[in-house]
């Protein structure tokens, strides 16, 4: 049972990490980047090239891959979201466009690297350490710690800094934000950059667990969206808690049903949460003025 909970927490942290990056883009544009899972995958694949093929140290690899994926995220913004202008809520074109970009990323990755998943070095080696009688990989502790740090970082940036206010102002009304002397475009680009860098970190953390391959995030990506929504879009705290809830729920569901059904259960919970409380656990709704 403790092992199950730990693995639930680890997977939960990964969903949280995805949710946090999805959130930061939502915070500034009000949209969900449906290609986010593929950005994470790119992080893993570039990690493979940098660390395994070229032989860079892991930490350097993370930094370099983070930079590369941040550039990809910014390119993604220019090619699939910017063309729809300021009023993104009015159409769903960006939704189809980001989905399309995800398909391109995945299939081009398959052409370059093949579809076979490959092993990836974990952070802190592959020795087990024993904590309170539970055997745990050092990598798993890193996953928990890094996720927590990034969650705190986003929480502070969004809620406690002037940058955070500017980011949220951009989401609320871009024209007014511009009139206040803030470059809305810069805010959006900064958020896409951050989201991409965090995606790369997530890729490094997931790959040792799932192996690195173009299809590694097909279902994990979806659960990242689920975590963001369960916690409440726009709230870093919500994304973090939402991810952990989803991970633990998934681990616990394995005690009841065969592993194959666990995704079905997780998605069912996601659907029910969206339907019953679309604003998530941490957000409140106001009556919309007509």
């Amino acid at each position: 049972m403790p092992e199950l909970l730990i693995s639930g927490l680890v997977m939960g942290s990964i969903y949280a990490l995805l949710a946090l990056a999805i959130n930061i883009i939502y915070s500034t544009t009000g949209i969900i980047n449906f290609a986010h899972g593929e950005l994470v995958m790119l992080g893993g694949m570039f990690g493979l090239v940098l660390v395994v093929n070229i032989g860079l140290p892991l930490v350097v690899g993370i930094v370099v891959a983070g930079g590369i994926v941040a550039v990809f995220a910014i390119l993604l913004y220019y090619s699939t979201i910017k063309p729809f202008g300021d009023n993104l809520g009015g159409s769903l074109g960006w939704l189809m466009a980001t989905l399309g970009a995800g398909i391109i990323f995945r299939n081009v990755a398959m052409l370059i690297w093949g579809s076979h998943p490959r092993p990836f070095p974990p952070l802190g080696g592959s020795e087990l350490i024993n904590i309170f009688g539970v055997n745990i990989l050092q990598h798993e502790i890193w996953v928990l710690v890094i996720t927590l740090l990034i969650a705190i970082f986003f929480n502070v940036v969004l809620d406690k800094t002037i940058l955070g206010s500017a980011i949220k102002a951009t989401a609320s009304n871009r024209n007014t934000t511009r009139l206040m002397g803030i470059s809305a475009e810069k805010m959006v680009l900064a958020c896409f950059g951050m989201s991409g860098a965090v995606a790369a970190v997530a890729g490094f953390l997931i790959s040792p667990i799932t192996f690195a391959g173009p299809e590694m995030t097909v279902s994990i990506g979806l659960k990242g969206f689920g975590a963001a929504i369960i916690g409440g879009l726009g709230s870093s705290r919500g994304a973090f808690v939402g991810g952990l809830i989803l991970g633990i729920l998934e681990a616990l569901s394995m005690t009841v049903v065969t592993p194959g059904y666990k995704d079905a259960i997780v998605f069912l919970v996601m659907i029910l949460t969206i339907t019953i409380k679309p604003e998530g656990i941490f957000n409140v709704t106001y009556e919309k003025k007509v």
Partner: protein
């Protein structure tokens, strides 16, 4: 096929004639195809026809109703497995499997549609993706029923004891496909179809026209699911073997891609998109490795470069394709007479109504009665709560305290569509038109509540259905003529000028045949000539026994048309009476001009 419904189609213009010719040639080509093409290609076309059944259904929900569904492959899989399991395990013939598959998929469509009552947009996208994944997982895991990843073999279709040949199957698909298109066309060009499009363009306005959002969204989901089920069952028998990986998420994206490329929200869009995207890759085998990458790129390019699809581009080039003909008879007195019995008495009573937004009291303990068959105006400074009051009357907002009765029935807690059908029509301060519908269709949506026929009569397009449609068409045309904008009938509502849009909104509200008409700043943005015309219109409306509740800032206009004037400030009533009484009321002067004490300071 491209032509909009038009009961007097005796004379077609050149563009429309060309379209009919193309449609005729296409049907002929499909009928004769098996005689000339090889059997491999025939199988591809059969598959395209099956997909077309599904995408036509998907178009109802995604294209017309505007609710994105990325779970269509799940519904398709449910149809396929229902058919396959019934045939393989119970030995049922295709002819029984097909309706069963449609029914089961339809049921799941109802389940999938339920969340749309609360959410839309990217939330709905995630829900439908999740649904598709769940179906796929269950198909893999429930091995005793589905055969798991190993799949399931399906017996052949038999027809009077003979196994259906490849050609026979092609004609079966073609027949079902044409039937699907015919049914969909009849639904779309009826009040059901207009309700779907109205919901897509503007949910608020749609519900204020008496459209029950819940019912129509669910109906659209179920229809799309039933067609997906039929396509799935057909596919199961066609491929003789099915496994879960045939119903993956990428297929759902492919389906959506076909209607986007062809043109969502048009009958022909899915035909062009599906045939193109299924058949074309067969000629581009050298690109097979890149097929999915190309689909991804196509998705981005089409939503950015051609959001209306191929059909939208054609329509832009040949706008005369949509060209309504005037009805045989245009009424010169189109305003529906209010035949309500009680000519005296109060049509609407509000007692002690309070509405809060957070800490702000927008309406504070407000009471008012509107006398039947009068023009009652509400004036007050900006932010006084005037529009909030109209929104309370027609159910957009629910008051925190107080009572509202309309024709002696309690209105509290009822949704806008119920109140609209009870006889309260309205216009909006910020014009809320169905922008992607034509002017004529906008007014016809207003007549929604007057339609009585059910969906089956609509599908069969019986005499009764045609007559009802004809009446609505004629009424809408007459109202537009009365408003002086009948030269714009075939144009999209979004293309009208601001003044014309206001007149269109009034025409749409009149088509509801209201007992009480709520007009929210109808003269805003009108020029002097238009205001004079509006004055005459309001007087005409009153003469026909319809009560008018008017919010307006043009004081001369208000003083001229009103029987009673109520003045609102900070959510409370400060004066009420005949226009000239109110005009000289010191409180009113104070609210509008301020007090003289300001000078002293």
């Amino acid at each position: 096929m491209k032509r909009k419904f038009n009961p007097h189609s005796r004379s077609l213009n050149t563009e429309q004639k060309t379209l009919w010719l193309i449609a005729g040639i296409a049907v002929l080509a499909f009928l004769l195809a098996p005689a000339v093409v090889e059997s491999y290609f025939l199988r591809i076309v059969s598959l395209a026809l099956m997909y077309l059944i599904l995408t036509t259904g998907l178009n109802i929900i995604a294209g017309y109703t505007g609710q994105v569904s990325l779970g269509q492959a799940g519904l398709y899989g449910i149809g396929a497995y229902t058919g396959a399991i019934l045939a393989a395990k119970l030995g049922m013939p295709f002819w029984l499997c097909l309706p069963a598959a449609m029914a089961v998929s339809g049921l799941f469509g109802l389940v999938l549609g339920a969340p749309t009552l609360k959410v839309s947009g990217h939330y709905l996208a995630l829900i439908t993706i999740g649904f598709g994944v769940i179906v796929e997982k269950i198909l893999v895991e429930w091995q005793s029923l589905t055969g798991g990843p190993m799949g399931l073999a399906v017996p052949a279709v038999t027809f009077f004891g003979h196994t259906l040949s490849e050609q026979g199957f092609y004609y079966l698909s073609l027949g079902l496909c044409i039937l699907t298109l015919w049914i969909t066309n009849n639904i779309i060009h009826s009040y059901f179809g207009r309700a779907f499009s109205a919901i897509r363009d503007n949910e608020l306005a749609a519900s204020c026209m008496g459209i029950n959002l819940t019912r129509y969204k669910l109906l659209a989901f179920v229809l799309s699911a039933v067609f997906a089920g039929a396509a799935g069952c057909l596919y199961a028998f066609y491929s003789a073997f099915i496994s879960p990986d045939s119903f993956s998420f990428s297929l759902s994206i492919f389906f959506l891609l076909t209607i986007i490329v062809g043109g969502a929200g048009t009958i022909v869009g899915p035909i062009i998109g599906t045939l193109l995207l299924v058949i074309l890759p067969e000629y581009l085998h050298f690109l097979d490795k890149h097929r999915l990458t190309i689909y991804g790129a196509l998705l981005i390019v089409s939503v950015i470069g051609m959001p209306q699809g191929i059909v939208g581009a054609i329509r832009k080039k040949f706008p005369r394709i949509i060209n309504f003909m005037p009805p045989a008879e245009v009424s010169h007195h189109p305003i529906p007479r209010n035949t309500d019995n009680y000519s005296t008495g109060n049509i609407l009573e509000m007692q002690n109504v309070t509405k809060r937004f957070g800490g702000l009291k927008a309406i504070d303990n407000f009471s008012m009665t509107i006398k039947s068959k009068t023009v009652h105006s509400l004036i007050g400074p900006n932010g006084a709560g005037k529009s909030t009051l109209i929104n309370i009357i027609n159910g957009v907002y629910h008051p925190d305290e107080g009572k509202v009765t309309f024709r002696q029935k309690d209105l509290i807690g009822h949704k806008p569509d119920r109140i609209a059908l009870a006889g309260a029509g309205r216009t909006f301060q910020n014009v809320q038109l169905f922008r992607n519908l034509t002017v004529l269709e906008n007014v016809m949506v207003g007549g929604h509540g007057k339609h009585k026929i059910n969906i089956f009569t609509t599908i069969l397009r019986s005499k009764k259905a045609r007559e009802e449609e004809q009446r609505s068409y004629q009424q809408a045309w007459s109202l537009l003529k009365f408003m002086g904008i009948d030269d714009k009938v075939s144009e999209y509502a979004a293309s009208l000028s601001a003044g014309q849009q206001r007149l269109l909104e009034i025409a749409r509200a009149l088509a509801m045949e209201p007992k009480l008409l709520l007009l929210d700043e109808p003269a805003a943005g009108l020029n002097d000539t238009e205001i004079k015309q509006l004055m005459k219109i309001i007087k005409d409306i009153k003469e026909n026994g319809i009560t008018v509740f008017l919010i307006e800032h043009h004081i001369d206009f208000v003083m001229d048309v009103s029987d009673t004037v109520t003045v609102l400030n900070f959510g409370s009533k400060i004066a009420e009476g005949k226009p000239n009484e109110v005009q000289s009321n010191p409180d009113v002067i104070k609210a509008y001009l301020g007090t003289e004490e300001a000078d002293v300071c």
